[in-house]
């Protein structure tokens, strides 16, 4: 009864075309943003200050849960644009994330390349020479990573004109394997270190330390400043919220309509004047842009240092695909719900299983937790897909329709 459109009339097309048909939805979103931007940081800060929570717990929440959730949401948004809206299945998401991460790394160190020459003693001397000045603005790095990944995505999207469905999935799998191979074999990508690990150098945004640490002299003493978890969280959150807004705008406007037309009936779409190749490539570009940003965010904010072949292997691709399928194909909200489901359920199980075992006097060790985590997680995915094949977004939709009438029967 409270959740319905009664009394809400739109008198202009501009208003009727808005993102939200219901005023309640709009307030709901503002509420969520308020909680994410203000209540969470301030609340956790106060809890720590008040001694109700350990500082390490707060950092764990930010660094291991919230940041991972944000990175996954960004990746899921990207894949949902390609698979959910444009109907092109991709199994190369992790590789595109990797391209983003490596781009961010290369630009943050100034696109180093190596020159080798023999010195007087006849020994080989290597020297890293930067091509460009190093960029130390994390947001700029994330955007550059997005653009570079978009270009790579377009190249690997080219087969989509001729190949459809599962066959395209296999073609994108080639991207996955090829790019991951590059991440561990092309030395230039990881600055020729023997472990093929990339580590983000210290970055700052508006004078705030974002990665690494900074030593400053304060009152004659050297003080080391470590990045605050809140800083990373708020930067990531702002990026995700802004680009979710962009994604929503794209899919509700003419770009999104062209994508969905290609997805639903490509022959009819062509007769309307939609160019299939250009439209699909645009979807690949935008999707890869988002995935690239997710990868860069993962490197800069979440992991700090990573090994490309390890962090962006095919499991990660599948994991993002599951997020999109479970969350709901063709839904921006669904991307977030799916990312939350896939990210939070394992963490929840890790925390709750030992506790549950303790209640019954059964000792639960880490190995058992891990096995149970996979079993329960798998079962949950199957149950969800049987109950609602269209994903969490559809469940949310049904819930909203129920709420329209609640508490009356009709």
């Amino acid at each position: 009864m409270f959740y319905r459109e009664a009394g809400q009339f739109y008198t202009s097309y501009a208003k009727d075309q808005g993102i939200f048909q219901l005023r309640q939805d709009k307030y709901g979103l503002w509420g969520i943003l308020f909680i994410a931007f203000i209540v969470v940081p301030v609340g956790l800060y106060l809890l720590v200050q008040g001694g109700l929570m350990a500082a390490s717990t707060k950092d764990y929440l930010y660094n291991s849960i919230f940041l991972l959730l944000l990175v996954n949401s960004m990746a899921a948004l990207g894949l949902n644009i390609l698979t959910g809206y444009c109907g092109q299945i991709s199994l190369g998401t992790a590789a595109f994330m990797g391209v983003g991460a490596f781009t961010a790394f290369k630009f943050s160190t100034g696109l180093n390349y190596r020159i080798q020459h023999e010195d007087d003693a006849g020994e080989l001397v290597s020297q890293l020479v930067p091509l460009l000045p190093a960029i130390d603005n994390p947001i700029l790095l994330v955007l550059i990573a997005g653009f570079v990944t978009a270009i790579v995505g377009v190249i690997f999207g080219l087969p989509s004109l001729r190949i459809k469905g599962f066959y395209l999935a296999v073609a994108t799998l080639a991207a996955q394997f090829f790019l991951v191979w590059c991440f561990s074999r092309v030395e230039w990508l990881y600055d020729y270190v023997s472990s093929s690990t990339i580590q983000i150098p210290p970055l700052k945004l508006f004078g705030l330390v974002v990665t690494g640490s900074e030593t400053v002299m304060r009152d004659g003493q050297a003080v080391t400043i470590y990045p605050a978890a809140e800083t990373k969280y708020l930067i990531c959150l702002s990026l995700v919220v802004f680009f979710a807004f962009i994604a929503k705008n794209m899919v509700r406007g003419r770009i999104g309509r062209a994508w969905m037309a290609i997805r639903d009936m490509d022959i009819a779409a062509q007769l309307i004047g939609i160019r299939p190749l250009a439209t699909k490539l645009l979807a690949f570009a935008v999707s890869s842009f988002f995935c690239g940003m997710a990868g860069a965010m993962s490197l800069i904010f979440y992991l700090g240092a990573l090994e490309g072949a390890e962090a962006f292997n095919i499991n990660e691709s599948f994991s993002v695909l599951f997020m999109v399928i479970i969350g709901g194909l063709g839904s921006i909200t669904g991307s977030f719900l799916g990312a939350a489901f896939i990210t939070l359920i394992p963490i929840f199980l890790v925390v709750s299983l030992p506790w549950l075992g303790g209640q019954f006097g059964i000792p639960v060790d880490a190995a058992v937790v891990e096995h149970f985590q996979f079993m329960i997680f798998g079962a949950l995915i199957i149950i969800f897909l049987i109950m609602e094949p269209l994903g969490l977004a559809r469940l949310w939709q049904i819930g909203k329709e129920r709420l329209r009438q609640w508490p009356f029967p009709y």
Partner: protein, 297 residues
């Protein structure tokens, strides 16, 4: 409607000696006809006569091996379907080909896509497109400018969206489908789906509208509604219509000119009255007794 009262414009589409082969099978053999502006033009024939293939040729889906097509006075080169759409040819399908995941309104709005070029692209087409070199240099920038406006859903783009919404609403009003504006088209009954598909084609403001069996599978009332819409479209917007239809009553009532195909060949052409009286047409539809059959029995 008396046919004698109706006047038509110049030739809009001229099909000359078209032959279309798939491997060894001849789908269309040496077919020629002319569609004139503001005409309601019907292509009829028994099943497998090559009617839909003919529409596909006009649409640019199939490329005939022989023959030429002249559209709006210019001989047409081999083109892709989306290029045909850009020249003002719209089409509905025999089996409904709507975008099932989208609402009625979105389907109609998708029909407006070709008309929705962003402000920078419009500037490009008006001012820059004819300049040598500069057109290639500025195109990506102009395209990207529009893309940014689109993704922000802001300013000029929002105005454009509203303007096209208005045009889409006019189509929706015309077809009387206001009440299903927000309904996903997958949930609509068949008759309404056909109507939405017509709406999507109309939203393109086409010069030539191809209708592939617009009344197939409809009940009498839906058929009458659809006939009324076809006649109204022709009357109010002056759209040239080429339709394929199996319901002879409909064809004879609403069309100005009829072409009859059988086994890929044109066997008759003329006003409905002429075609109706043609012995070849009657034979094609009812079958003809062959002499050798007669001798044996």
């Amino acid at each position: 409607m008396k046919h004698a009262e109706r006047t038509f414009g110049d030739t809009l589409l001229k099909v000359d000696n078209i032959t279309l082969r798939f491997g060894g099978v001849k789908a269309i053999t040496d077919v020629s006809f002319e569609i004139r502006e503001k005409q309601i033009f019907a292509i009829i024939g028994p099943n497998g006569a090559g009617k839909t293939s003919m529409l596909n040729v006009i649409n640019g889906f199939y490329h005939p091996q022989e023959g030429t097509i002249t559209y709006k006075g210019n001989p047409r080169h081999q083109m892709k379907p989306h290029e045909a759409a850009e020249t003002g040819i719209a089409r509905t399908f025999q089996n409904v080909a709507l975008f099932r995941g989208m609402s009625t309104l979105d389907n109609v709005m998708t029909g407006r896509l070709l008309k929705m070029s962003g402000p920078s692209m419009r500037y490009y087409h008006n001012k820059l497109a004819n300049m040598p070199v500069i057109n290639y240099l500025t195109y990506p920038a102009m395209w990207f400018g529009d893309f940014l406006l689109d993704s922000l859903y802001w300013g000029p783009y929002q105005k454009e969206e509203v303007a096209h919404r208005k045009a889409a609403e006019e189509v929706i009003d015309f077809l009387e489908i206001q009440s299903i504006r927000r309904t996903p088209v997958g949930r609509l009954p068949y008759g309404l789906q056909k109507r939405v598909e017509l709406g999507r084609a109309l939203a393109m403001e086409p010069d030539l509208l191809l209708l592939d069996e617009p009344m197939a599978g409809m009940n009498l009332e839906e058929k009458e509604d659809m006939c009324r819409f076809v006649i109204d479209v022709n009357d109010e917007f002056g759209t040239t219509i080429a339709l394929i239809e199996h319901d002879m009553g409909v064809v004879m009532d609403i069309s100005d000119h009829v072409v009859v195909l059988n086994y890929g060949r044109k066997i008759s052409e003329g006003t409905p009255a002429v075609v109706q009286a043609d012995q070849d047409v009657i034979d094609a539809y009812l079958g003809v007794a062959h002499e050798e059959d007669l001798i044996e029995t």
